[in-house]
Symmetry: D2
Subunit: 333 residues, 4 copies
């Protein structure tokens, strides 16, 4: 960390700061220029609160040179982490498709879709049981019943299941879930992250709607700092001024995350765009820029089901996307 | 709700939709133009999922005419709601100051500040016990111990206390808190909102960092729809591209919220700007545009305490802000 | 266009509006619901100012059903436009690479790079002569001299040249330029757009830093409405809250633009990311999601030149990107 | 400027950089830490292109310590600049109202409004003659004819006039305009800024829709660096994800700009909010946080004129706003 002191900082003021820092086991290298003094802070600065230093009267500006995250940092763990989800590996160089309906609706629906997406190459089944909804009047999911239907679909197809947790208190219901998703709105639900950090479950952490890449990594750090190393990151679109798409899929985040962290990175083009005909091009683009996996909504029987999402693919469309994506993956490698 | 159907929609397709809507107790008024057909949906459309309608193949676009929120809606509750926080009224036309330190640190600190801000006209005491922090390595608050110190300060000064809850599981610890704050990062922690809706406690709901005014109102609706009418809204800055200030304080939200809802609206200029010298101008501006209250960080003993925030005022500065704000309030009324 | 009238609108008020609309050759279809009245405006509503209608006391909200752009609209021109840039075709299903240095610096530099990028498959040469710079103290380009060097490089390699115009008054200097670029900051310099619309030159219109897709299309409409049909659109990153990359490359805009307009769409990953090692993944992603071309900065002799951009590729890196991109293009087709 | 070099930078690499910097008259202070080397750049670093330094292989990160703007910088000009607009002073501690219609429509209209706003305390008359419009099909203003009507209104009322220039080529038409406005879309039309910098005319520079405070100041620097010191800054709302208001009025920018520059700062609440009933609260808030002036749209005869803007006040409403604002100004001083 580097702190630039204001012109006119007195010696006692500076000494007071250096003294306080040394109590935090930070040593200081002083560099005096004509118009400013630069302090180089040396030691475990990840534990120093940058806002606190910035707040001091005598400080012009502060800048981290080393990142505030450690366990997720590729600098300290150069090789890719490979996460094992009940036998399926993510981050080992393969391309994983996680596919399934937005919400679990019925046994017939979830088993039907599970079989179809498996045939097209999906390695995991997604499906919402607990649904975070903006309105209290919208459908909130089948909850525990939905989880049971997912378990049923896993039994039939062998696909590990991915589903979202919204609340610490339901954690025991998720004991049998293979891959627990933390949704975008909970990316900074720190108490939830800490509890999940105490398990050994693979965690699929979605980027918050308006969170920076740095905050995203800090949330992963919350999980890892409690001892759980099984974290997968998921870019799912960020909030911008553009309204033509639901969110703006930030694909630049993929290579950036792969540079900064050893954790696998997947992409969810369905939620980002909110429009089914945009899922294919964005899934292919995500593959082309290095994603370890794609999470995509697939529904069956669209003429019957009214609530089939604007963002969901039919199994046939999914099959076509997967085929092209696997070919692009070969080119990229 | 108005749905514009695509050109080329067939009669059976349209009838299928109208049929489905009628099962949701929505009747439909059809208006056929040359190049498009418009359906007017009549009935309790708040319970209709707009994304679901938008998702249909035959739908060009959908638009809500009536708002999706009901209990928070001023249309159905034209007069201002006045929230009673242990005897202090918010929303009755007065200007409330909620002041206190970022974090509760010690008995001496919190009681000292409480006395000083009370003398300057503050009607409530704020102080963080459970602190949401971006980094797992940053100070997370004194927790239960911090709450006790707040109770102590209340006993001495009589000021009701405001402090943040982060987790449903700690709700019983908050039984004795006068005014429970839901922080920006938890604005869409729907399970937490629902639990708080089952209490009768006054809730201070902060706007999420990148949430729209509509989403903000929907989160208040979550609380009210469970039966708790004691909700106060707090604008605290939104995330934009601008980096000169920590967040962009969206003061336009104040008159807009006052127009859309009967709930009181307060403003937190400390967190929005992150810079102490900006607190005064923004507190005065918030007063000028109609806020029912101002929430502001005040610390004492700045030369001693290293961690006093860049965003905190001294008690003397707070006194000056409050004096000017009360005068502005008179002009505005 | 659909206008929803407020509850309580009187008959004379409504008649006054309908009367005014009929003078603009707009007929009105009235649909009365229980709680609101909907007017369907029929006729050439592209010429109706939506803000003007929205501004009326009696209007609750207005919504365009048909797009305000016409000549750029795919609805009225379903097949792809193919733009001919001195013999090079864009939009015909091929993948074009436009490559070259950020700024033209010397004859040796520009000719050297031109030869190398041509060998790797680039079909056009880019290079800045007039440079828009945030600071008046930054290098502003070689200007007319830079154009001459570009002409020289074209003579040697046969590559058509692409370079940016900043000012109507320099238009005659651009007479011999093959493809005139309008930069992001000038996307809404309407007088410049109109003048360019009076020429027959191919125009490369870059999306403004914070412009919506709709505004982008309206700016293309400015050029086309003056008679110049030779417009190519370029996505180059938008401004968001994220600071890890210079801008956020909005690749979702590619399929969305291809849906809405018949004009070709290219992508500039160099300016969007500002970081050379991100150019390859984002160029491949742009290809995978359907871009008609990629515009990329290439420099030579990096150890010597101090000003080689963080965002520029070496010719060898460019060669590798182009090879992979052409393979991905085959998969996508 | 401070440059942090990457671990593993060799001595010759560092010497090459230092050598190049010394040729730009920048001397370097080297500070070697355990894990990084910090270079302090001393001299006229405003002329150093920060992107260029950032781009170097060996550079981890760069940070400006001194601002890149000089002539607009309050550090080098601590007292407020007072701009004289044909006898009206801005920045001298008074509160100026600049009022008038969105577009000049007729002699009767502009003279009528001019008289009324003058009576309510406005010191300048605004009115659009050349109108930048998103759509080529929208009304583009009366142009030269509009300017003549403004001159007429000035003759009758004595109010100096403010109107927007869109294009260098029309500069001679503006010779008789008292205060030339550069609109938000032209904030980075650098050639226009330079031409205006060569005049002595007072320039009202509006902040671009998505421009940072720093870029705003750099654009003012463009004008000043050519010799014209008569620049007034205008905050008019920025583009964010929020759609409830047209733009988000960034009032925090007012105290921040007043801190960073000696130039006067005014606020335009009409364009920012786009809604007439929001103009009063936001005008009062702007006054409360220290604006030197308010620019507001006023129309007359609203029942007759259909195109009176949603964002315009009636003369009576304007009178009420002005009265309250002058009282708030007294409190703030």
């Amino acid at each position: 960390m580097i702190a630039v002191l204001k012109n006119g900082t007195t010696k006692p003021q500076m000494d007071h700061l250096i003294d306080w820092l040394s109590k935090q086991n930070i040593s200081v290298h002083i560099s005096k220029g004509d118009s400013y003094t630069v302090l180089g802070l040396i030691g475990d600065t990840a534990k120093i609160d940058i806002d606190l230093i910035q707040s001091l009267e005598i400080v012009e500006s502060v800048k981290r040179v080393s990142e505030p995250y450690k366990q997720v940092n590729r600098k300290f763990h150069p090789e890719n982490s490979v996460i094992d989800v009940s036998g399926v590996k993510i981050g080992d160089g393969s391309l994983n498709f996680i596919a399934g309906p937005c919400s679990v609706e019925s046994e017939e629906q979830i088993i039907g879709i599970a079989k179809q997406v498996k045939d097209s190459g999906a390695t995991m089944l997604r499906g919402g049981a607990f649904k975070p909804r903006t309105s209290p009047y919208d459908f909130q999911g089948l909850k525990g019943e939905g989880l049971k239907l997912l378990f049923e679909a896993r039994k039939v197809t062998g696909l590990p299941i991915v589903t979202e947790i919204m609340n610490i208190n339901t954690l025991d219901l998720f004991e049998d879930v293979d891959f627990i998703q933390v949704g975008a709105r909970n990316m900074q639900n720190f108490d939830l992250l800490k509890e999940l950090g105490k398990t050994k479950k693979p965690i699929l952490l979605k980027r918050g709607l308006a969170n920076t890449i740095k905050e995203f990594l800090m949330s992963a750090e919350y999980i890892m700092s409690e001892g759980n190393e099984n974290v997968v990151l998921c870019e799912r679109g960020i909030r911008t001024y553009e309204t033509a798409t639901r969110n703006t899929l930030d694909l630049s985040a993929v290579p950036m995350l792969k540079k900064l962290t050893h954790l696998p990175v997947i992409v969810d083009p369905s939620h980002a765009t909110g429009i089914s005909w945009m899922v294919e091009p964005m899934a292919l683009a995500a593959t082309a820029c290095g994603a370890d996996g794609i999470m995509v909504e697939v529904h069956n029987d669209p003429p019957h089901a009214l609530c089939d999402g604007a963002q969901s693919l039919t199994p046939e469309q999914f099959d076509s996307v997967a085929k092209k994506a696997f070919k692009i993956k070969e080119v990229v490698d």
